[in-house]
Structures are given as structure tokens and as C-alpha cells.
Symmetry: C2
């Protein structure tokens, strides 16, 4: 067996939400380089592998990107089966593209194993469909910590024309909410923060765009990944979701009527 690298999406955390292919390549790996959001339960599947954390954690310096490339390439050239394991999907804010390019340049064979992206799964697990007939027929996924990147995308959109999902946006939620309201979104638009989706400690906050800056002000949130969802579809969380609420604004009458909730 020649060396090979799999760029693998680990999904939102629960190892049951790994794909079958991801689980298999993790089980067979000899080296696993994993990011901070990969759960311990998922790493436990890598029984044969040396495992190294190369991810960013708050307040701690991460292994730099060039070093990650060098580690993958060196191990593959030594004939190892290498898994580069990332939360969610490797090509959604995962720098998987850069890693694939580095491998291609080095002549190392590799394959991408798509994963369940938190952009879709975190809302779904909270009972929020990103699209819903008559309510939302499109969705936009942005990096919530990067206003320079999301402003040209969200700034011109007709308000409420799509569901907005912001990953890595907890710290920037005040700015995001203010920007959308400034661009004509109703301050009463339903909004959610989904924390730790698919993990045991998962919980969801729902409220409005106006409330979003103060969402989760008291409990500490920086230890769980959070996904922000903005749009009328959030109103469905109360009916479709089974995730514990840390705060739930009652579904507005308008939404309840529209969705036919009883």
C-alpha cells in the first residue's frame, strides 16, 4: 500500500453522523491529524493511528498551515495511510482546498471525503429547515467573524429572501444583527443560536434579530461551536426540534398560522 491522504469531514461531532466511508478510513488510518472541533468519540475510532491535534483552540497557538502540509506529505511519502480530519465538511471553511493543493503539488495521492456540514446539520438538529415551501427557497452560508466577506453578499440581498447561516459567528453576532437590520431586515426576524449540535450538551437559543446581540449573555458559550441562523424558518424550531432550549421566544402568531402549527 502506497501512502495516501484522505481529507475527511467529521460532521458536527456525534460519531453516528460520520459517513460510513469516513468511519472506515479513520479506523484504518495510521496517522490522524485532527482539528479542535473533532470530538473524542470520533477520535476513539482511530484505534490504530497516531493522533495529533493540529487545530486552533481559543488562546492557544495552532500548528501553522505549512506544518500541517509538511506532516501530511512526509507521512504519505513514508507509505502511511493519513487522515486529515476536520469538523463538518473539509471544503466548507475547512481549508481543505489549500491542503489538497499542497498534496497535488507534492504528487501525493489524496481523496476528499465529504462530511455533514454544520451549516446544514446544526439547524436541522434544532428543528430548523434551511428551506421550507412558501417561506425560504434559498440559503446563504457566511463566516460570521468576517464582516468584510459577508457584507458584499448579504448587503444587497432582499431582506428575508433567504435563510442566513453564520458559522464561527458567535463573537460577531452583534455586528451581524446590526448590519442586517441596517439593510432593511425586520428586527423581529426570528433568529437562533445552535450550540454544540449533535453533542450531548447541545442546546439552542431562539429569539429575534433584535435580541441576538444579547443572546446567551450569561452562560459561557466559548467552549461549544455555535451556528447562527436568521430567518422565518427559525420559528419552526419549537415544533420540529427536540434540542433543549436555553431560551425560546414563543412562535409569533403570524408564523404559527403560516406553518399550520396546532
Amino acid at each position: 500500500m502506497k501512502g495516501f491522504v484522505w481529507l475527511v469531514g467529521a460532521g458536527p461531532g456525534d460519531p453516528d453522523l460520520l459517513t460510513r466511508k469516513a468511519a472506515r478510513v479513520i479506523e484504518e488510518a495510521e496517522l490522524v491529524l485532527y482539528d479542535a472541533l473533532v470530538s473524542n468519540e470520533t477520535l476513539d475510532l482511530a484505534r490504530r493511528a497516531q493522533r495529533f491535534s493540529v487545530g486552533k483552540r481559543a488562546g492557544k497557538k495552532s500548528v501553522d498551515q505549512e506544518t500541517i502540509h509538511a506532516l501530511m506529505i512526509r507521512a504519505a511519502r513514508r507509505g502511511k495511510r493519513v487522515v486529515r480530519l476536520k469538523g463538518g465538511d473539509p471544503f466548507v471553511f475547512g481549508r481543505g482546498g489549500e491542503e489538497g493543493l499542497a498534496l497535488a503539488r507534492a504528487g501525493v495521492p489524496f481523496e476528499v471525503v465529504p462530511g455533514v456540514s454544520s451549516a446544514v446539520a446544526a439547524p436541522a438538529l434544532a428543528g430548523i429547515p434551511l428551506t421550507h415551501r412558501g417561506v425560504a427557497s434559498a440559503f446563504v452560508v457566511v463566516s460570521g467573524h468576517d464582516p468584510a466577506a459577508y457584507r458584499p453578499v448579504l448587503g444587497g440581498m432582499a431582506p428575508a429572501s433567504a435563510t442566513v447561516v453564520a458559522l464561527m459567528g458567535l463573537a460577531g453576532r452583534r455586528g451581524l444583527a446590526a448590519f442586517l437590520i441596517d439593510r432593511g431586515w425586520s428586527a423581529a426576524t426570528p433568529a437562533a443560536v445552535v450550540l454544540g449540535a449533535s453533542r450531548e450538551e447541545a442546546r439552542v437559543w431562539t429569539g429575534t434579530l433584535a435580541d441576538l446581540p444579547d443572546a446567551l449573555a450569561s452562560p459561557p458559550i466559548d467552549d461549544l461551536p455555535g451556528t447562527i441562523v436568521v430567518g422565518e424558518v427559525v420559528s419552526l424550531a419549537g415544533v420540529l426540534g427536540q434540542m433543549p432550549f436555553v431560551h425560546a421566544r414563543p412562535v409569533a402568531a403570524r408564523a404559527a398560522v403560516r406553518f399550520g402549527a396546532q
Copy 2:
């Protein structure tokens, strides 16, 4: 065991891209109601179940939504383990929200099992990262057959500020391309059509927005699901992808330099 319904995402087609949880509930199901895009290999896992196709196929009338609800509810009330199996993710253009609401109203317990959405996986399998540092920091997913829904979303976006993914958009690709160019997108923006991602017959067309209307004019395409991707990230397909090309426009020099391809 009381009756229960799982709303399950089957992913893009390859049963290896099912989640472990999806595979398990399919294997244990007594009734599987499946959509047209669910592959035979996936259905083969449902060894114990009665299986009914309830999906739309071109030129054939599908089972209507109310009937699907009634079938699920009736079977669950008889104590059956029911899997409602949808291509991709059940909450991305899957009408999973409507089905969850119907179950909730009927008092039938249910759970959503997120899947690998084709919106993410089809580009990934073709070597197209939806986000890529310095190139795209956001992506937009629209229904390509519904201009009234995508125009308010895409019409105001700054051109090239996000990767655009259009599902169910093959028949409408001329209109989508014309609309983006009319809104200021360069006609030279790279574009791709990913066909049958994760299936054996998968292939990808790449070209430009200007070429998109005539993409795949000769081979028949209506038997494979297709995903349209528009944005500079498409240039990476030639380096990161392993899917056979039906047509590949050479990567432009500008992109090759930017991505550091050698």
C-alpha cells in the same frame, strides 16, 4: 417498540456517504418511503422493509404530499418503524419541514437524521471547495428552477462575492447565467455542472458563465441529478478533482497564479 418515523438524508447517492446513523435506521426499518434520487445500492440496505417509491420522476406523476404524510402516519400508528428517505439532506429542498410538521400535528414521534447535502458534496467530489481562502468566504444555495426565488437573493449580491450553487437548475441554466451576467458578473466567471456526484457515472463539465447555457448540449443529461456551481473556486476542479470531465476549460492563467498551481 412504538411506531416512529425517521426523516433521513440519504446523501448524494453512494451508500458509503450515508451517515452511520442513516444506515442503521434504514437497516432496521419496516417501511421505507423513498424519493427518486435515492440509489438502488442505498435501498438494498433496507433488507427488512417494505419499500415504496413516492418520488417525482420526469414525466410521471408523483405521490402527492398529503398521501406521503398519511402513509407515514398510518404506518407509525400501527407501530411500524418508518424511514422517510430523501436524497441529500431532508431539510435542504427536501420538504422535510412539511413532513415533520404533519407528524408533529398527528402526535407521531419523529427524528431528523441529517445527511450529506449535494449542495456541498457534489462540488467537493468534483474538486471544488465552496470556500477557499482569498477566493470565496461565503456560498449561496438556490433552487435553479425557481427564478422568482433566486432573483431577490442573487440580484443584489456583489458579483463574485460568494460561490453560487444551484440545485435542480439544469433546465434553467440559461436563465441563471443570463441573470448573473446581467447583474454584473463577468461572463468569464468559471462555472461547473456536476452530474451524478458520488455515482459511478459521475462526470463534470467546466467552462464559463458565458458557456453555461450550452453546457452538455449533446449528451443526454436528464437522467442524472445535476448541480451547478458558479465562482472562481471552480478553477480548482482541474487540480483537486478526480471526477471525469465531459468538458474542461483550461484553468485561466490568473487563477493558476492565484492558487499557486504548478
